[in-house]
Symmetry: C2
Subunit: 304 residues, 2 copies
């Protein structure tokens, strides 16, 4: 079975990790959100791409879910001493990724080509693609005005009240080489348990149509996001955060929906939207849980 | 006594360190070579400025003479893993200096202003000035063509045969704010034991004239440079490397010359050039030796 998965950061990376353990590498493509990317300290930083790659390579910090295992913080500590901006916590190993990526981008190499070569260097076998090589930037409309995503997410710790989103640059952005093909040749497309508003929607805004069956895994469990501001965003946008809300969010595109056993009572309402469902444990702290969920999702797809 | 010292990297930094322990901070200005500066991995790197500042701040690696004490190398190791350029060994703490300096330069702050603020952050009390805020780049003419200084010095390990030097950008470069005044108001100007060709000459090419008495400390001891390629450069340029050669190099400008006890037999020839001399121990491995040499040099200046 050929699978193309859409992923944001931590949650998406975990399911991608599970899928990578189950599927032959040539049958798995992961398309990653780049709407969170930003320039900071002169570095081109791609948080979701890096989280996905570090996770697939076994380099990720399993406690935080982001950044590198065994990380040191000597650069950022010294930037802070010099009075520089230290609110975005860049580890020493992680900075290497940003420095080398920035160097290559300035030389004219595309983000997708850089990502391919980084994956080779890190021993990652499935195909990892940025959604686009063009700059698309998620802008968060808040009660304090429009904020660039990392300004909202990290610097302001998601405190401003969300009123909406805009994906700057999306009208000019083409899908990165391989993205269209991966979507069109897959047997199914999986929306990983990533933030619908700021991880999956930016990808959809670039790729536009998906013709293959789509299966989404809910990032909301028991009304809460496992990590990140998805639930808070739903609430502030006037929608009760729930697996049902996520299913409705993707409604027109979905063939199937995977929700947590905690949310079993929502299943009937989701089925009523003409979406097939799978109820299973969706928390993925350890690799065994990632592999089990990947198997559950693939089995579910096979049954559709 | 008001002193302005001209310095390159390691040797200059050591004498500056000694002078900083002896003179009140308001009486010491150190003008540092920026001809070695270069852009690497998108970072603006100023090796001599950093060596002088790290040394004055007590942050320098006392074994290597350059870089930071207690340094870690996680960024460069990971750049290497990604296939990036790793020939210039940037430590994790050191990278903070380059990242924050580059960020500020891009915001339009001048190198001299950045250096002043970094010195404050590092607790450095004497005034440290880059020779200029403009880009001046030492180019080394070799048997393999013209090479940028760090390409010759670090990447090619000084292997190409030197035929001459050119200080690119020097005709447009003005001395940094404070440099002219520091030279004109000093009681004496000290040429630290730095490479005459590529540390002191670039500064002289920018500041042009010095009206106050100049005292140079020989960087050549027993026909060898304590560190770096000075002796090799003299040989390749057809001059026998010696304290005498250094005195002749600076001849027209020198009021006094400090040479090592090892080179005592050259003293008469230097006096014959109408240059006053001081013979003393000039090796400065430890702070006590730096302070002693600083005191010797100041005493010599007082005697002139």
């Amino acid at each position: 079975m050929k699978i193309t998965a859409l992923a944001g950061g931590v949650g998406g990376a975990k399911l991608a990790h599970g899928l990578a353990h189950v599927l032959p590498p040539e049958d798995l493509t992961i398309i990653v959100n780049t709407g969170d990317d930003f320039e900071h300290l002169g570095l081109s930083i791609c948080p979701d791409l890096d989280t996905v790659c570090y996770t697939l390579a076994g380099l990720a910090n399993s406690e935080t879910g982001w950044g590198r295992a065994g990380e040191t913080w000597n650069t950022i500590a010294n930037i802070e001493r010099l009075g520089g901006p230290a609110w975005f916590r860049l580890g020493d190993q992680d900075i290497a990724t940003h420095l080398e990526r920035t160097r290559r981008l300035k030389e004219g190499q595309s983000l997708s080509s850089i990502t391919r070569e980084f994956c080779q260097a890190w021993g990652i076998q499935p195909t990892v693609l940025p959604m686009t090589d063009a700059p698309v930037r998620t802008m968060v409309n808040t009660n304090e005005g429009e904020l660039a995503f990392q300004e909202y997410f990290v610097h302001r710790r998601c405190e401003p009240i969300v009123k909406g989103f805009r994906f700057d640059g999306v009208t000019e952005a083409k899908p990165a080489p391989g993205v269209r093909e991966a979507l069109d040749t897959a047997d199914a497309v999986i929306f990983c348990p990533s933030n619908p508003w700021v991880s999956i929607d930016p990808i959809l805004s670039v790729v536009k149509k998906i013709t293959k069956p789509v299966i989404a895994v809910s990032p909301i469990i028991g009304g809460k996001a496992v990590k990140g501001p998805a639930a808070k965003m739903y609430t502030e946008l006037g929608i009760e955060p729930s697996a049902l809300a996520v299913a409705k969010h993707y409604r027109t595109t979905l063939a199937g929906f995977v929700l947590d056993t905690t949310d079993r009572e929502s299943e009937a309402q989701i089925i009523a939207l003409s979406i097939k469902t799978q109820v299973t444990d969706t928390l993925m702290n350890h690799l065994t849980e990632r592999v089990r969920l990947a198997n559950d999702v693939l089995h579910f797809i096979g049954s559709l």
